[in-house]
């Protein structure tokens, strides 16, 4: 059986010896199957500066916490990468698990840690000292407790881990919601009057809006107005709220308020068994469930150290690239929707998306929630008639329609005058803010994980990492078209090369054994770097399951992007970041 080796080597810590650079201070993580370096919290900023400036790891991709409840320890994990490519460097800080759990913030080195540190504070209760705006981000202000801690339990807590014992062999049915003492998980005080209620958290939120002062240009004194866009707003792509301060029409302050779709995906994931997480990853970025499956499968395969069947590798690439094509087409359609060209471009894009979804439905059984990947391969083979459909799309339909989209929009003077020159972000700021994906590439940084740190079989294909130089809205539009062409190139090669053979290197198992250890699997999802950080302690459920969602990290610099711009451009600026709420709020 022809198989490819799992790509464990590429993500080993770099050969650069951080321990030799800081003798006696930094030590290697010696737990079996754990990687990286353990840094004392007193030296964290010093070591991180060296990692960034001397070693050249300029992109701090992932920050998250781990609660080692039995060992009475908390850990903060950082994954740093070079935008020039190559393996990453992982470093960790361990602190005793006693409140307040304090770790110095890295926000002055990498401002991109802003939201990720706030998330770790919110969900795990790790206080980042020096963070200027450490508020809750996914839960609401005034919420008690930190839900990702291992000793936190929801109102109706049946059992710590799935499968629940009450389901079999004596599965007497009951409604879970009837056992929930808060019914809808809400309880109001007796004399509660919604008209009089002033949310406590909002004072903090509006206070943090006034951090910036912009020079007045025309000398006319105007009042500042706080304007809430969302959570119910047609152009915020879901339940997203932006608290804006405007002076005239100029944005002088902006804070994204998110978490309306929060469901504590990571806690659900930590109580699931490994295989049970697969359909849940579909619900993250529901436009690209194939890409989500891909990332999670990679992470767990690294942990299990199993190969992927060769044919399955090709099928995975085909599915991941098809989903990228439809995502970018729909992105263009939705961007035009945001700009006011209602529906025609969006519906043209949706026609192609429907045809791609037909293929997903034929192979996986569902149009959006594909649940198609398994550890070691995919769930079922692509039949010949579906393969023919893919060929028809890749060779005939999609190139013609991408070309049509190009003809339809690219030179349109109204579109050009609306998009050109509205600067989104420059390359240096984008890297500091941990931005990835097309938005980063539109600024001129050729950072694509498929090339920088190849996973699966992407090293076998010829394609260009497309970049644009200006980083304005128009470049962000053009780069999506460019990427569709590159994806079609990859697809054509994959269809030619795909071998026959088994589609899974493992026997189908409903409960896989995963050895203890940690793994960070990342893929270039259509929106940016999608990473899954999984820690196993050898039990059937992961100890820690973290999603590094591109939508979530990419909106970190939203305030910087929008400062000084007109409010009419906010919708487009937010639109080009291409967020999906399922992934943003998790």
């Amino acid at each position: 059986m022809a198989t490819t080796l799992p790509h464990t080597e590429t993500t080993q810590p770099s050969t650069l010896d951080l321990g030799a650079r800081f003798p006696g201070v930094v030590s290697a993580d010696t737990r079996p199957s754990f990687k990286g370096w353990i840094v004392p919290k007193e030296n964290l900023i010093e070591v991180a500066t060296v990692i960034r400036d001397e070693f050249g790891y300029d992109l701090l991709s992932n920050v998250t916490g781990v609660d080692y409840f039995p060992e009475n320890k908390m850990e903060v994990v950082y994954h740093a990468y070079k935008t020039t490519g190559g393996p990453g460097l992982e470093f960790k800080v361990q602190v005793p698990r006693e409140d307040p759990v304090e770790v110095p913030s890295l926000i002055n080195l990498w401002p991109g840690v802003d939201f990720q540190e706030r998330e770790a504070w919110d969900l795990l209760g790790i206080k980042f000292t020096g963070h200027p705006d450490l508020r809750r981000i996914l839960m609401w202000e005034g919420y008690e407790g930190h839900p990702l801690r291992k000793d936190w339990k929801e109102p109706f807590h049946e059992e710590d881990f799935k499968p629940f014992k009450s389901r079999w062999p004596d599965g007497q049915f009951y409604y879970a919601e009837e056992k929930n003492p808060y019914q809808d998980n809400l309880k109001f005080p007796q004399d509660f009057d919604p008209e009089q209620w002033i949310p406590e958290g909002d004072a903090l939120l509006y206070g943090s809006l006034a951090r910036y002062t912009l020079p007045q240009e025309d000398g006319l004194g105007t009042d500042r107005i706080v304007l809430n866009m969302g959570p119910q707003h047609p152009s915020t792509h879901g339940v997203f709220r932006a608290a804006l301060t405007v002076e005239g029409e100029t944005i002088v302050g902006l804070k994204p308020v998110i978490g309306y779709l929060h469901r504590n995906h990571e806690k659900i994931g930590e109580r699931n068994t490994y295989i049970q997480n697969m359909p849940f990853t579909d619900r993250l970025d529901y436009f690209n469930s194939m890409a989500n499956n891909f990332g999670y499968a990679l992470a767990v395969e690294k942990l299990m150290n199993i190969p992927v069947a060769e044919r399955a590798d090709y099928i995975r690439v085909i599915m991941a690239e098809l989903t990228r094509v439809q995502n970018h087409l729909v992105f263009i359609g939705n961007l035009l929707n945001d700009l006011g060209a209602m529906y025609t471009p969006a519906l043209y894009a949706f026609e192609e998306r429907e045809l791609v979804l037909d293929i997903f439905e034929a192979v996986s059984g569902a149009r959006m929630m594909c649940n198609y990947f398994r550890f070691g391969g995919v769930v079922r083979d692509v039949p010949d008639d579906v393969m023919q459909k893919i060929k028809d799309l890749v060779y005939e339909r999609l190139p013609a329609k991408t070309e049509e989209m190009d003809r339809f929009l690219t030179e349109n003077e109204i579109l050009v005058s609306r998009l050109k020159g509205v600067h989104v972000i420059d390359s240096e700021t984008a890297v500091r803010y941990s931005m990835t994906g097309p938005v980063l590439r539109a600024t001129g940084v050729p950072y694509d994980i498929r090339r920088a740190d190849p996973y699966s079989i992407y090293d076998r294909f010829e394609f260009d990492v497309v970049t644009r130089t200006n980083g304005d809205l128009y470049d962000n539009y053009l780069i999506r078209l460019d990427e569709i062409w590159q994806s079609l190139r990859i697809l054509q090669q994959a269809i030619k090369q795909i071998p026959q053979g088994p589609i899974n290197s493992q026997k189908p198992q409903y409960q896989v054994r995963v050895p203890a250890g940690e793994a960070y699997g990342r893929v270039e999802s259509p929106k940016g770097e999608l990473g899954f950080y999984v820690i196993s302690n050898g039990k059937p459920n992961p100890w820690r399951y973290h999603v590094r969602a591109p939508s979530f990290v990419n909106i970190t610099p939203l305030e910087q992007i929008c400062l000084g711009k007109k409010i009419a451009d906010f919708v487009a600026l937010f639109g080009v970041i291409d967020v999906v709420m399922g992934e943003l709020d998790r």
């Binding site: 062999p169 599965g171 049915f173 068994t273 929630m369």
Partner: protein, 206 residues
């Protein structure tokens, strides 16, 4: 020239506009039905599609591929003498693998010996919690639980399906998933043949 790009773009919409008529008329001239026919629906979701894309649900429906999955159902075999034999042995794998834990099984016990017998007394699926992932059908060793194609499940209250509602004959399974059914039957026959061969080989020794 300013406005050239707009005209170029408008030519695309213009072409699409006429395509709808041209396509309809060409189908008419060929004496075929573009709407409300299987051939027409197939055409409208193929690479050659031009013109009107919409499928007029519920009057017409997309052709569901065999793999499509919605709520699971339980399979029973119809014996020649008219009795129904459930395939489920209440082994509990589906309940254990179910990600949202929406399957509830009560295992039967022999009234005399108290030992478990391979048959469920009760089987519930909480349809409102089911996430249609298809794991139960995928990992069932007896092909006893299969994902249905019926997706019109809207209801006013909580829907919890019991055995009565879940059990469907194997002929129904065959009708919605012919390919998978044939594969399963072939596997089953091969297994039985292997068993028989093994028994035949072991018999002379004993």
């Amino acid at each position: 020239m300013y406005g050239k790009g707009i005209l170029k773009g408008l030519s695309v919409t213009w072409k699409r506009f006429w395509d709808t008529y041209i396509d309809d008329i060409s189908w008419l001239l060929r004496g075929k039905k573009r709407y409300y026919s299987e051939e027409g629906i197939k055409h409208r979701s193929s690479k050659d599609q031009k013109g009107i894309f919409t499928i007029q649900y519920p009057e017409e429906r997309l052709i569901t591929p065999e793999e499509a999955r919605y709520i699971p159902f339980l399979v029973y075999d119809e014996k020649p003498d008219g009795t129904q034999e459930q395939r489920c042995t209440s082994c509990g794998i589906c309940a254990k693998v179910c990600p949202p834990q929406c399957i509830w099984i009560v295992r039967s016990n022999d009234p005399n010996t108290g030992r478990p017998i391979p048959e469920p007394t009760e089987f519930y699926i909480d349809v409102d919690i089911c996430m249609n992932c298809g794991f139960c059908a995928e990992y069932c060793p007896f092909d006893a639980i299969i994902m249905d194609h019926d997706f019109e499940l809207a209801s006013y209250g909580r829907s919890v399906y019991n055995m009565e509602k879940l059990l469907k004959p194997a002929s129904y399974y065959k009708s919605i998933r012919p390919g998978q059914y044939a594969k399963n039957e072939a596997e089953r026959k091969a297994k039985e043949a292997a068993k028989a061969a093994k028994a035949a080989a072991a018999a002379p020794k004993a």
